[in-house]
């Protein structure tokens, strides 16, 4: 089995006034042809890992191979084979049109003019951006710009592409278009690999063959989403809507493995992963003692998000 990515005992620290360890002893293997997800909260080390794999950053220790080449000594062999796109990036030049920007970036990879034009036309169509092809980049919306960025990543026909939060802040329709394209792109050929980081658990669950959960620079778990969810079999997941209260202390309640909370109209929606169901009575007492009132309480089937909460102890964000 050929590996697109082989990461072994990889660490990266940033030295300054304080030393920050962004990655610590990371081991990871991604097979060629895989759509692989990297899940983790802000500051978990996802972007640092992508920067190392895309040859923008050197590891402090350990090794990383991309498509068989070492990121330290063989960066020039890796670069023709990869591309990367980050969510919310503002690359390109505002005075150029969308088409001109895409052509310019294709030239940095030596794509012949006629091939570039053909690919750009096809991708503009696939992403519903044909009507903006001749619009100056500074005049298009954020969502259109993000679609242009994603096209930029695919226009060079890479063997491996890194997508760092590609659907961040995009509307539902645009996100769906991007997800569909990503899935089809990987499936179209055996030798295409895609590494995706995302904040959206459903996106990872829907798209990825395997995901790795990363927190504080360490890989906590790695496997297909279904397998990660199966690891939750011994735990129970509850969703509780309450009036407003501070849910943070709930994680200290005995039997609670993880808590995440979102704001909703009536107050909070709290997602709880419990070691066993009996802990729910202590949770209810804790909510009430902190001034909260429970509006509804449901036991639900575990999702990838619950697996994440169980491992990390909190939700994304």
């Amino acid at each position: 089995m050929a590996y697109a990515l082989e990461v072994s005992a990889l660490s990266r620290a940033f030295t300054g006034k304080q030393t920050v360890v962004a990655l610590e002893n990371v081991d990871l293997k991604v097979k060629e042809g895989e759509l692989f997800g990297l899940l983790g909260p802000n500051g978990a080390g996802k972007t640092t890992l992508i920067k190392i794999l895309s040859t923008l950053l050197l590891p402090t220790s350990g090794t990383a191979k991309v498509l068989g080449y070492d990121v330290d000594g063989e960066a020039s062999k890796i670069r023709p084979l990869i591309n990367m796109v980050s969510g919310g990036e503002t690359s390109g030049y505002g005075l150029l049109t969308v088409r001109e920007n895409l052509w310019m970036f294709s030239q940095f990879y030596g794509v012949p003019g006629s091939v570039a034009r053909e690919r750009i036309d096809g991708l503009l169509k696939a992403f519903g951006l044909e009507d903006k092809a001749n619009a100056k980049v500074r005049t298009i919306s954020t969502g259109q710009r993000q679609r242009m960025n994603i096209i930029r990543g695919f226009v060079t026909d890479p063997k491996l592409i890194f997508l760092d939060e590609p659907t961040l802040g995009l509307d539902v329709t645009t996100s769906r278009t991007i997800r569909e394209y990503i899935r089809d792109w990987v499936r179209a050929r055996d030798d295409r690999t895609l590494l995706l980081t995302t904040h959206y658990m459903r996106e990872a669950e829907e798209l990825c063959d395997r995901v790795a959960i990363i927190d504080r620079g360490t890989i906590l778990a790695c496997g297909p989403p279904a397998e990660l969810k199966r690891r939750m079999n011994h735990a129970s997941t509850f969703v509780m809507d309450t009036t407003s209260f501070d849910p943070a202390p709930l994680s200290a309640v005995r039997g609670v493995k993880g808590v995440s909370a979102d704001e909703i109209e009536s107050g909070k929606r709290v997602r709880l992963v419990l070691e066993d169901e009996s802990a729910i009575s202590d949770v209810i007492s804790a909510v009430v003692s902190r001034g909260g009132r429970i509006v509804s309480l449901n036991k639900v089937e575990a999702t990838l998000e619950d697996a994440f909460i169980e491992m990390v102890g909190r939700g994304l964000g």
């Binding site: 950053l57 690359s91 052509w103 310019m104 940095f108």
Partner: protein
């Protein structure tokens, strides 16, 4: 077409298009500098200086476009590219870094050339300045080598400033005005004395301007060195800056990868 040639053309493209697509530059880059030129010309006229001095001013004013482009479009360019997220995309791509710089330089030469020609043309018309081109090939050679040398210097600065944010911007600011003085943009540099002139000659625009003045205004130009000697020195400077740029870029990219300074923290 090989990868690096495509890359250089691709990177030059926004600058060429920018010069043609954004007419607002005519006001800021041609009409405003003409006011500065006018001030020097009327100053020389009030002093009763030889008419060739007015020619020095128009020539210096035109060449200012290239100098400003070298400072702000080359030396500080990677600072802006890093800010908007382009630098990381350039560095992830397989193109040679020298091709990237060459593209920036070629595009810059075109856009600054359009500005310089406009300034020269308007300066000659408005102030009725006369120049005599007796050796056009020699003049073209001096001009071309001067451009290669100053853009080579810009490429070297771009490499050195790649990792430095606002510091690069400040250094460009620092270099802008003093060079007008020590390089003799508006007067024969010999007036500054042999030591200052010799020191200023490390900046190619000094010898380039001096040689062009001699070729356009003859003995009135009060040249620093014979034109042929200046051309040879300019050739040496051009090669030296290009070689230094190549090594500086390789070193700074490696250092940037090691220290994590090729991208901003939030990128």
């Amino acid at each position: 077409m090989p990868l690096n040639l495509r890359a250089a053309v691709g990177r030059a493209y926004p600058r060429v298009i920018g010069a043609l697509r954004e007419p607002s530059w005519t006001f800021f880059d041609v009409l405003l500098p003409l006011l500065g030129i006018a001030a020097y010309i009327y100053y020389y006229r009030a002093l009763g200086a030889a008419s060739s001095f007015e020619g020095f001013v128009v020539l210096g004013g035109a060449m200012t476009a290239f100098w400003l482009n070298v400072l702000w479009g080359m030396a500080s360019q990677f600072y802006w590219e890093k800010e908007i997220g382009n630098l990381q995309l350039f560095l992830v791509s397989p193109m040679s870094r020298m091709a990237l710089l060459a593209g920036m330089a070629l595009g810059g030469m075109f856009s600054a050339g359009v500005r310089a020609l406009s300034t020269l043309f308007l300066g000659l018309i408005i102030f009725d300045v006369h120049m005599t081109v007796e050796e056009p090939l020699f003049l073209a050679a001096v001009f071309l080598v001067t451009l290669i040398a100053i853009y080579g210097m810009g490429m070297m600065f771009a490499s050195l400033f790649m990792l430095y944010g606002r510091d690069a911007w400040n250094i460009s600011n620092l270099l802008q005005e003093p060079i007008y003085l020590v390089s003799g943009f508006y007067f024969p540099v010999r007036a500054l004395g042999p030591w200052v002139s010799a020191a200023a000659s490390i900046i190619p625009i000094t010898l380039g301007l001096d040689a062009m003045r001699q070729l356009l205004f003859g003995e009135q130009a009060l040249g620093l060195l014979p034109v042929a000697t200046e051309l040879v020195i300019l050739c040496v400077l051009a090669v030296a800056f290009l070689v230094l740029a190549r090594y500086a870029l390789r070193y700074m990219e490696r250092l940037g990868r090691k220290e994590g300074r090729l991208t901003l923290r939030w990128q």
